[in-house]
């Protein structure tokens, strides 16, 4: 074996050290990136949770639209899988390139904080949207919808569809899913306060599993023959429930609404199984995030209480915890579902 004798190893070590030393010399001679934007052409980088995700394709297209409106340059980079480690690399790179602002959907509330901190230390404002980091990490979070809005809109939709009275049930995700439980609690409070004729008869859990949600829907209809409506505040659940209803006798009889995505729900809206469902409009979310990034980069806003203009969406005010709320969830129905692809 010719590789492991002393002379070879010594030579290899020398080569290696030489190459390291060479890289070191190169690194020291470099100049720092000139990072300050001139206000005329803002370069804004969008970092979604992962690339190739239709939801972020839609939201970032909204961001691109906004950036084109105010004449900046748009860039989208991100990891292939939704991992925080992957995002850190892109945040570091953008910091080095001296971008004027970053718009990030965080894969982890904590793991990105250091990288974001380095970007902010370099004078780059950081906006999170869709998924937030810890509030102290970033400058502003653009929130798609608050829990009250989500709960109220779903209750309004079901009440409208079943005519204000009857039995309804919830098809949720996992029994310990924090989001879903909070929404269901708020919906129950809303129903109790404003819709005395609507009775919640059951809450079942599909665990965000397509087959299980499908089976739970079947069981729900059997055990509650008088059921008038189902609210499923989870995209997996509502799609599975719609698939069951569309082939059952209850199609059109038992109303279904909740939170869903247009691509999953399109056929059920078109065949009449579902009248309307809710979700925020990701394009508006990206659009608003881009304007928030611009306002930060231009120094128009700094924190709570400041207001800024967001193009076609109008004026927004930064709220508590430096959050900007997009507004009530968006209602998708047969008239508008053709406009969306995510």
């Amino acid at each position: 074996m010719k590789f492991h004798n002393r002379r070879f190893a010594r030579a290899a070590a020398v080569t290696l050290i030489a190459s390291l030393a060479l890289t070191a010399c190169g690194g020291d001679g470099g100049s720092t990136a000139d990072g300050e934007g001139d206000g005329e052409s803002l370069s804004i980088t969008f970092i979604p949770k992962n690339l190739g995700n239709p939801y972020f394709d839609t939201s970032n297209a909204g961001g691109e639209e906004a950036i084109e409106e105010f004449g900046g340059s748009y860039e989208q980079v991100g990891p292939a899988e939704g991992s925080p480690d992957g995002q850190v690399q892109y945040i570091n790179t953008a910091t080095q390139q001296g971008r004027d602002a970053l718009v990030i959907s965080a894969n982890d509330p904590d793991a990105l904080c250091d990288a974001i901190g380095e970007a902010r230390d370099a004078g780059i404002p950081v906006v999170t949207f869709d998924a937030d980091t810890n509030p102290e990490c970033r400058d502003i979070f653009v929130n798609q919808a608050d829990a009250e809005g989500i709960a109220r809109v779903q209750v309004e939709l079901i009440a409208d569809q079943i005519g204000g009275s009857g039995e309804i049930a919830f098809l949720s995700a996992a029994a310990n899913a924090t989001n879903q439980n909070a929404w269901i609690e708020l919906m129950e409070a809303e129903l109790a306060a404003n819709y005395p004729d609507i009775e919640v008869v059951d809450t079942v859990y599909g665990d965000d599993d397509d087959q299980k949600s499908f089976d739970q829907t079947a069981a729900l209809l059997q055990s509650h023959p008088d059921l008038a409506g189902i609210i499923s505040p989870t995209t997996v659940g509502i799609a599975a429930a719609a698939r069951y209803l569309s082939t059952s006798d209850s199609k059109g009889e038992v109303k279904l609404t909740g939170l869903g995505t247009p691509n999953q729900m399109r056929e059920y809206v078109e065949d009449g199984t579902v009248e309307a469902f809710a979700l925020w409009n990701p394009a508006d979310l990206g659009y608003l995030a881009a304007y928030a990034a611009k306002a930060l980069a231009d120094g128009e806003i700094e924190g709570e209480g400041d207001t800024f203009e967001a193009g076609r969406l109008g004026e927004y005010t930064v709220g508590a915890d430096n959050t900007v709320l997009l507004g009530d969830p968006f209602e998708f129905n047969a008239d508008n579902i053709g406009d969306f692809d995510f």
């Binding site: 074996m1 010719k2 590789f3 492991h4 004798n5 002393r6 002379r7 070879f8 190893a9 030579a11 290899a12 070590a13 080569t15 290696l16 190459s19 060479l22 890289t23 070191a24 190169g26 690194g27 020291d28 001679g29 470099g30 100049s31 720092t32 990136a33 690339l51 860039e75 980079v77 991100g78 990891p79 292939a80 899988e81 991992s83 925080p84 480690d85 992957g86 850190v88 690399q89 892109y90 570091n92 790179t93 910091t95 080095q96 390139q97 001296g98 982890d108 509330p109 904590d110 793991a111 904080c113 250091d114």
Partner: protein
């Protein structure tokens, strides 16, 4: 080999130690090709890629590559024996979770939690080692199992939660530079120490020669007195312990202990090791090539990131490079055979000539 020769009174050898001169053995090796490629990629990026020459580049390069660099050390030794360890990244995840919980929930001092995490990592490695070396199961099957098992335990312990409450002194240490203003993070010190230790073990010790022998032919190794099972078991335990150390480093440098930490990293480690010239069939490879392989992937990645390429393009480039590097010896083999065939043909011609003369006389 000089170490094998008894000192002092051995008769002087009458044949050359090597078929080729020293410079040829260095320059024509697989390892040198990777080092040359690394230097070429670096010089190119330095001159052609915007922002690559900023001092941050090397810092991020080393910080992002540190985990792969560290894990590549024991991985090289394991692959040289002809085995593989797919569970290292899961061990990183598990030790990260263990470290986080021991220091956050159990309230142990960070130093104690760190030692415990390394011990847990070594235990994970011991599970692999016993199953592979003593039970005799194929390492690819065992470590695919433990890849799922260790990650599963980590997820079971912490679920989707995370632990983030680490003293600033420790998290800062993980990110600190050796000399302020220079691009070398402190983790490089740990790496250099470990790299020297592993280089000594692989290339300069009896134990290391056993590793290569096992990779070439483990039965022959057994009959020449190499403790095959023990050697393999020790290497898996070392891999686990290093993974434990990486788990601590990853936790401190990101500030977060999560079950998902470093998921999929094992493939990057193995890719870099193979790119560095280690044969997946065992018996061949050297650490300098592996280290250059890791850094080469790092440089290409950073340069392409700074150039604004998406991850998919980067993966295509690195994947192509890897496939080329693995197939290159195969593609070059017919050429080498042709050359050596011509040489032996000439040599046997000469031999026949002399034999003919002798029979005549």
């Amino acid at each position: 080999m000089s170490i094998l020769a008894p000192a002092g009174d051995a008769p002087a050898r009458t044949y050359a130690a090597y078929a080729r001169p020293f410079w040829q053995r260095v320059v024509l090796s697989r390892e040198f090709a990777v080092v040359a490629l690394l230097i070429a990629a670096f010089v190119y990026s330095q001159t052609q890629v915007d922002y690559f020459d900023s001092p941050q580049t090397l810092y991020y390069l080393f910080r992002d590559s540190a985990a792969i660099l560290l894990l590549a050390l024991p991985m090289t030794a394991i692959i040289v024996t002809g085995e593989i360890d797919l569970s290292v990244a899961s061990t990183v995840g598990l030790t990260s979770v263990a470290f986080g919980m021991l220091s956050n929930d159990a309230g142990l001092p960070v130093g104690v939690a760190a030692v415990a995490a390394i011990v847990i990592g070594a235990l994970c490695g011991a599970v692999n080692g016993v199953l592979v070396a003593y039970v005799g199961l194929p390492s690819i099957a065992v470590t695919i199992g433990t890849l799922a098992l260790f990650r599963g335990i980590a997820a079971g312990l912490l679920g989707t939660e995370s632990r983030t409450n680490f003293p600033d002194g420790w998290t800062d240490l993980a990110k600190q530079r050796i000399v302020e203003g220079q691009p070398y993070p402190v983790i490089l010190l740990a790496f250099v120490v470990l790299a020297l230790a592993f280089a000594w073990m692989l290339h300069f010790s009896t134990f290391g020669r056993g590793i290569y022998e096992i990779g070439l032919n483990d039965e022959a190794a057994h009959f020449t007195g190499v403790p095959v099972a023990r050697t393999k078991a020790i290497l898996f335990v070392l891999a686990g312990a290093v993974a434990g150390f990486v788990g601590i480093y990853t936790t401190l440098v990101t500030g977060v202990a999560r079950a998902e930490n470093s998921a999929g990293l094992e493939l990057q480690v193995i890719a870099a090791v193979l790119l560095g010239g280690v044969s997946i069939f065992g018996g061949r490879g050297a650490l300098p090539g592996v280290i250059a392989g890791v850094l080469l992937i790092g440089v290409i990645q950073r340069a392409m990131l700074l150039n604004g390429q998406t991850i998919n393009i980067i993966n295509i480039v690195i994947g192509t490079l890897l496939v080329l590097s693995v197939t290159a010896p195969r593609l070059l083999a017919p050429l080498q055979r042709a050359v050596s065939a011509r040489k032996t043909a000439r040599a046997s011609d000469r031999a026949q000539d002399s034999a003919g003369k002798r029979s005549l006389s």
